[in-house]
Symmetry: C2
Subunit: 407 residues, 2 copies
């Protein structure tokens, strides 16, 4: 099957939790466009956090109903929306599952910024409380509904940690050998031992235990996608109309590294590298995010399968190399600033992503055209930027220093 | 140092979270008796669950202030008490830490029954929400207080799972080998891959990730005790006065296997074995629980140490063997009933507990005298028993059947 259409007999009712967010919104549109029936549940928490941080999306995103009405006007396709706080409104959430009877639930409904999760005790506690209760309530409601729902969850490459010299990170499960009492060696496959680097990443490690348990006890069908850092802004669908534009985070909390560099260069702000920039990270373009999710939906596990874990990334890069590339493309200078995170200054990273490749993904890799598309978006909305929000000021410990360039 | 006294220069301020419960209460008295300064925090949730389940402790436990006043009267030692719901009253909890400045926090403040955690969506959700938020709030408050507090946590042997044929379960960390890309083998030590058997056990696996993270990021000193099934009722201290008596759970939710068998035999109720009784479990006497916790406090990790994990158990037994032993001792018949849990019908279990042995623990193992002490307690309070509360009726899935004997 081609990735841009779906045949009528594989049409699915898909509930997208967090469908108003940076990944959730383009995913909802893409799956609607290929012919699925989409319902979005979102409590608009990401927009509320914009208010809290006094840092809006660089792109002028429209209210959810303006977005949905524009989508209907342009494509003729309807997407239903429910404003439910899944962590705290279980009964309401269950009722929607029982009435909508989805085939698939895609779960983006977690607080997803590492710096935000480290800002203060309040932010740590919100992240743990929200993420644990949402994921658990989703699993609990699936079992309570007695429906055979395929759960697709957005996890993170960050659960693996980065201390894996010479070991190519497998997709979720690690082959290992242990020695028995009698000296005999046994091969086993285990969940890759996690080493998360922030409270946010830690909650995604905890999610894995919830998935493992509900899969074992209740045969829930689950696909967990360990996603790299997303870059890019728009997809084919969000590009159809200005009212469909996707959010673009440039601030020190929600702005992710490649997009942040591109935005900094576009507005004439130094490219801020934390520490030496020796960190190596995994990346994926937003257009591939939505394709991978489609592939995950089209290749569900059976009820007897263990949790499927796919690495949702297409390439790895050293942060300093990205900074140099963008500096070369744009002429903007690089500022090496303190690293507000407690992490290894340098690391190698080799990652398997065979599963998506075997399902037909043709990865979009870093190229000048797509980098320039981000720069173009950033330049267009330059006047909306608050430069004071650019530096990363959320500190991992009291010993760390904010990532502010010297003036 | 002897285990029944403490020297003045090692006297510690110890905060016991959940200090009104089955393990927390005798631990508080024991540590007070040996000379430490004890503060109890408890929201009395276990007593409230008694109300909910309409199943009281078989022993007539006294209100917390009656207990504490009796302790003062008998020993001259004061224990302070705060009624705080740590999951939901973070500010109050932090304030008590800041004013009491404890050297040690012992964390018993979790919902600790596997059957209770599986009763219904409401009970699953309560267990996850309570246990995750309490553990996280404790860690978060320790960091926010800037005090160098040693956290001792009551975990469970249940995080290991029971599928370890031929492998002696190590204390928390597993030696394993992985193969690198170039064929080279690397030895690594990892957190033992968990395989919890209920929502309750799953939360204790999640706790381990919280401990690993806060230890790594904030150098919090943590000892995690993976405890077996506790048996027995009273300790040296709770035996001093009837008003100090410890709770004894005999109901299908909170009654644990050995104590439940002894109580059933004492009141003339068939000894109910779930399934074949081929399950092998780890056990510890309540008197050893309090000694182990003392040893954990007296042997704290340094700030540079990783999380200390000790297996807090002294022996393993097959459930059917225990039933036969008690049947032989008491003449009561055994009833093989359906297993309400989804678990392996039979398993082997070999466990290391070298760390406590190396610190001087002289384990109490199953002996007739101590078994008869439990029977004596059960006989004494026989009239308080509600026989309808004895069977285990909380089901792991809709396919399971309650553990009710045929009549």
């Amino acid at each position: 099957m081609r990735l841009d259409q779906t045949s009528l007999n594989s049409k699915k009712k898909i509930m997208v939790l967090g469908g108003d967010g940076f990944c959730g919104w383009p995913t909802s549109l893409h799956l609607s466009q290929v012919g699925h029936d989409i319902v979005i549940i979102d409590n608009l928490s990401r927009r509320n956090i914009d208010n809290e941080l006094e840092a809006e999306s660089l792109t002028p995103i429209q209210p959810i109903h303006t977005r949905l009405n524009a989508w209907k006007e342009i494509t003729g396709k309807s997407i239903d929306f429910y404003n439910i706080d899944i962590a705290n409104e279980y009964a309401e959430f269950l009722q929607v599952i029982q009435s909508e009877k989805p085939d698939v639930i895609i779960h983006f409904a977690e607080q997803r910024s590492a710096p935000y999760s480290m800002k203060s005790p309040k932010h740590k506690r919100y992240t743990v409380n929200n993420n644990m209760n949402v994921t658990h309530n989703v699993l609990c409601a699936i079992v309570e509904s007695s429906l055979d729902i395929h759960l697709v969850h957005l996890g993170t490459m960050g659960v693996y940690g980065y201390g894996t010299a010479g070991l190519k990170i497998p997709e979720g499960y690690l082959d290992m050998e242990v020695k028995k009492e009698n000296g005999e060696r046994v091969e086993q496959q285990i969940l890759y031992p996690t080493n998360p680097g922030s409270i946010y990443h830690m909650t995604k490690s905890q999610d894995q235990l919830l998935f493992q348990y509900y899969n074992k006890n209740d045969d829930v069908r689950i696909t967990d996608l360990h996603q790299g850092i997303v870059w890019g802004t728009n997809t084919k669908e969000t590009n159809l109309d200005d009212r469909l534009i996707n959010r673009f985070d440039y601030d020190g909390d929600y702005g992710t590294v490649l997009n942040r560099f591109l935005m900094q260069a576009a507005v004439g702000y130094p490219i801020t590298v934390h520490g030496t920039g020796g960190q190596t990270r995994a990346f994926i373009h937003i257009q591939d995010t939505v394709r991978c999710i489609q592939l995950a939906i089209e290749n569900p596990p059976a009820r007897t399968d263990r949790v499927f874990i796919f690495n949702q990334m297409t390439e790895t890069h050293r942060v300093a190399d990205l900074a140099k590339l963008i500096s070369k493309l744009t002429g903007e200078e690089i500022a090496y600033v303190p690293n507000p995170r407690k992490e290894a200054a340098e690391n190698e990273l080799h990652v398997k992503n065979d599963l998506f490749l075997s399902k037909g993904l043709q990865p979009i890799t870093l190229n000048e055209g797509l980098l320039q598309e981000v720069t173009k978006v950033a330049k267009r909305f330059k006047d909306r930027a608050d430069y004071e929000k650019i530096p990363a000021t959320s500190l991992w410990t009291k010993e760390q220093k904010p990532g502010v360039p010297e003036v």
